[in-house]
């Protein structure tokens, strides 16, 4: 079983600050991490390899520094790492990103053996689009299984795979045939800490670096800004509300008095809520 896991290096969004004047992201000093959802994908791929054998290739498109993330993935136990990096990719939207990644995946298949499953995370924490996985699937003509919470089984002989995916209002159990693209949902599993052997192997393994030509990409018009139909016209910070909360006085009041004051303030602000609350609490 050969799986390719797409990972992205992202700024740790919990630590992001927005420039107060320019409304741009201040990246300086913000640590980068592997997109957390991609780790669920990596873990799923490693678990499959443990069960069925085979290899796990991690693929990342990004600037040269993204090599750090790939090294990390190797220490978690991935077998091979490919960094796709070229200035032609700068400014790619999801359509251009899926083009570059799918081209690289095709090349990985030619170079290292046919790919059975492509994994991605559900979405990234910087872009939050959840569009790159489906884009790759379409471009490689793979069946897509998004928001997968569990791989229920794979039959190596018939090449059938059964998964559970989160749908609106329930869980869908789907069966399809490899090769497929799977986007993994959050919280499905915890990423393992690689073994010492993994760490040693990772140190030796090294990262394969490809530019556009190496990945067999000749249609440069489909890459980067030029290959991106969407255009970001404006970036801005959410408007701060100027009005501050009305604070309920607490001095010298016990809990019951505070509660009464709070309820009075709520109903004072919105008297219509009184009827709503009566209706709801009565269970209508």
């Amino acid at each position: 079983m050969h799986t390719v896991v797409c990972i992205k290096q992202v700024p740790d969004s919990a630590q992001i600050r927005v420039h107060p004047v320019h409304n741009t992201i201040m990246r300086q000093g913000v640590p980068t991490i592997i997109n957390p959802y991609d780790l669920f994908a990596l873990e799923a791929a490693l678990t499959l390899r443990d069960k069925l054998g085979g290899t796990v290739t991690v693929l990342c498109m990004g600037p040269p520094m993204a090599e750090d993330s790939l090294r990390k993935a190797l220490t978690f136990g991935a077998d091979r790492a490919v960094l796709l990096t070229d200035r032609y990719f700068a400014g790619s939207d999801t359509l251009a990103t899926s083009f570059a990644l799918s081209s690289a995946i095709a090349k990985i298949g030619e170079t290292f053996g046919p790919v059975d499953i492509v994994f991605t995370g559900k979405q990234t924490i910087d872009g939050d689009t959840a569009q790159v996985g489906p884009g790759i699937a379409k471009r490689l003509d793979l069946n897509q299984l998004t928001y997968v919470s569990r791989i229920a089984g794979i039959d190596a002989d018939t090449r059938e795979i059964t998964v559970e995916r989160r749908a609106e209002g329930g869980v869908q159990v789907l069966k399809t045939v490899l090769p497929v693209l799977i986007t993994m949902l959050e919280g499905t599993n915890e990423i393992r800490r690689g073994s010492l052997a993994d760490a040693l192997r990772a140190a030796r393994a090294g990262v394969t670096t490809w530019n556009a030509a190496d990945a067999g990409i000749t249609e440069l018009l489909k890459c980067g800004l030029r290959g991106s139909p969407t255009v970001v016209k404006k970036v801005f910070a959410p408007s701060a509300r100027t009005e501050k909360a009305v604070l309920i006085e607490t001095d010298g009041r016990n809990g019951a008095q505070m509660a009464d004051a709070l309820i009075a303030a709520i109903l004072d602000r919105n008297p219509a809520l009184d009827a709503d609350l009566r209706r709801l609490s009565a269970g209508f």
């Binding site: 910087d126 919280g187 800004l225 255009v231 970001v232 509300r241 019951a256 509660a259 709503d276 009566r278």
Partner: protein
């Protein structure tokens, strides 16, 4: 839509920034809303989008269409009625037994064929698991732009769709255009657009379209659908009152205080993300950027700091009430009513006071 949001580009000098709509796209007109129809009902986000789509269509002076895809022609006809009552002028209907359950392959084909045949300039879908699964493949097949998970839509002076969405976990907003390709596609979060009032009896026309695909063409099979029939299932997105707790509650046991208040109010309950990570609540009860967007009439947040990722999920609430021990907590920047108090002590008092008040009312009425 950029998955790696670019910094603000200079206004001129980039080919991509100028609108040079190729001739083949000039005939693209009308606004479409994909109507998510599953298990016998329309997802509310689709009706919300008809309301928003109506505004866009009126501004562009074009028609508003709903797209209904499913297994049963009569059921879809019923659903079409709801679409007309919520603002659609017409409905494109693709009914075929292979479309009975959502699967990416046949739905992508159905929607792509419709777009290629009838050429809409804007296609909107709900940012649900179904909508995002479908939108990504349709946009890639059509090689057009797609903006994910939008919270605001507008038409600019050049008739271009301006789609605004949060990015970097909600720290920034960006406005995205698809200038040189058609259709312009976007997915929109549930509950950020207001539900349009239904106009009973309002009607429109139905255009039927075939699928031209058989079960044999489709590799993926649906084996089972397991509904969230758990009686404790969260209905957060559509709850009128929501009570939520955060790390300030200090322990899983104390979370019961949130449930108690919710119980008395007939409210639904949820929490901040760390509570999901700690296992105090299930993931479907997480409120915020990576959880649910809520739009209740009343939101009570107990022991929640109000980080930006939480804030973007609750901003649509009519009235936000914050209970927090720290007067500098960011939640006081966007709550309308706040109290600097220990939630573990105040919640039981609040529950008791509401219980008394509401039972008195019940006796009186």
């Amino acid at each position: 839509m950029s998955d790696a949001p670019r910094q603000q580009a200079p206004a001129a000098g980039r080919a991509g920034m100028k609108k040079e709509l190729p001739d083949r796209f000039k005939s693209y007109k009308h606004v479409w809303v994909f109507i998510e129809y599953e298990h016998g009902h329309i997802h509310p986000v689709s009706l919300e989008l008809l309301g928003e789509g109506r505004k866009l269509a009126d501004k562009l002076q074009v028609e508003l269409a709903g797209v209904l895809i499913g297994g049963d022609v009569d059921e879809l006809g019923e659903a079409a009625r709801a679409c007309f009552e919520h603002g659609a002028d017409l409905v494109y209907r693709v009914a075929d037994p292979v479309l009975a359950h959502y699967r990416n392959e046949p739905y992508t084909k159905a929607l792509t064929d419709l777009v290629n045949t009838y050429k809409p300039e804007i296609v909107l879908l709900g940012a649900t698991t179904l909508g995002r699964d479908l939108a990504g493949s349709v946009a890639t097949t059509l090689l057009t732009g797609l903006t994910a998970d939008c919270t605001e839509l507008a038409i600019d002076d050049e008739r271009s769709l301006a789609a605004t969405r949060p990015t970097f976990g909600g720290s920034l907003l960006c406005t995205i255009h698809t200038l040189n390709f058609r259709p312009q596609m976007a997915t929109i979060r549930p509950r950020v657009m207001a539900m349009p009032p239904a106009v009973p009896g309002r009607s429109g026309r139905i255009v039927d379209h075939g699928l031209d695909m058989t079960e044999l063409d489709i590799i993926t099979k649906v084996l089972q659908f397991i509904p969230d029939r758990d009686t404790d299932k969260a209905q957060l997105a559509y709850a009128d009152v929501v009570v939520a707790g955060g790390l300030g509650l200090k322990s899983a046991e104390n979370f019961q205080l949130v449930k108690d208040l919710a119980g008395v109010l007939g409210a639904d309950y949820g929490g901040s993300r760390p509570l999901v990570q700690k296992g105090w609540i299930t993931a479907d009860r997480q409120i915020g950027q990576t959880g649910k967007t809520i739009r209740p009439k009343l939101y009570i947040a107990a022991g929640i700091s109000g980080a930006i990722q939480h804030r973007v999920g609750v901003e649509g609430a009519d009235l936000i009430v914050a209970i927090n021990t720290d007067p500098k907590a960011p939640i006081f920047d966007f709550a309308q009513i706040g109290i600097v108090a220990n939630a573990v002590e105040l919640l039981p008092a609040l529950t008791a006071a509401f219980r008394q008040r509401l039972s008195v009312h019940r006796l009186a009425s």
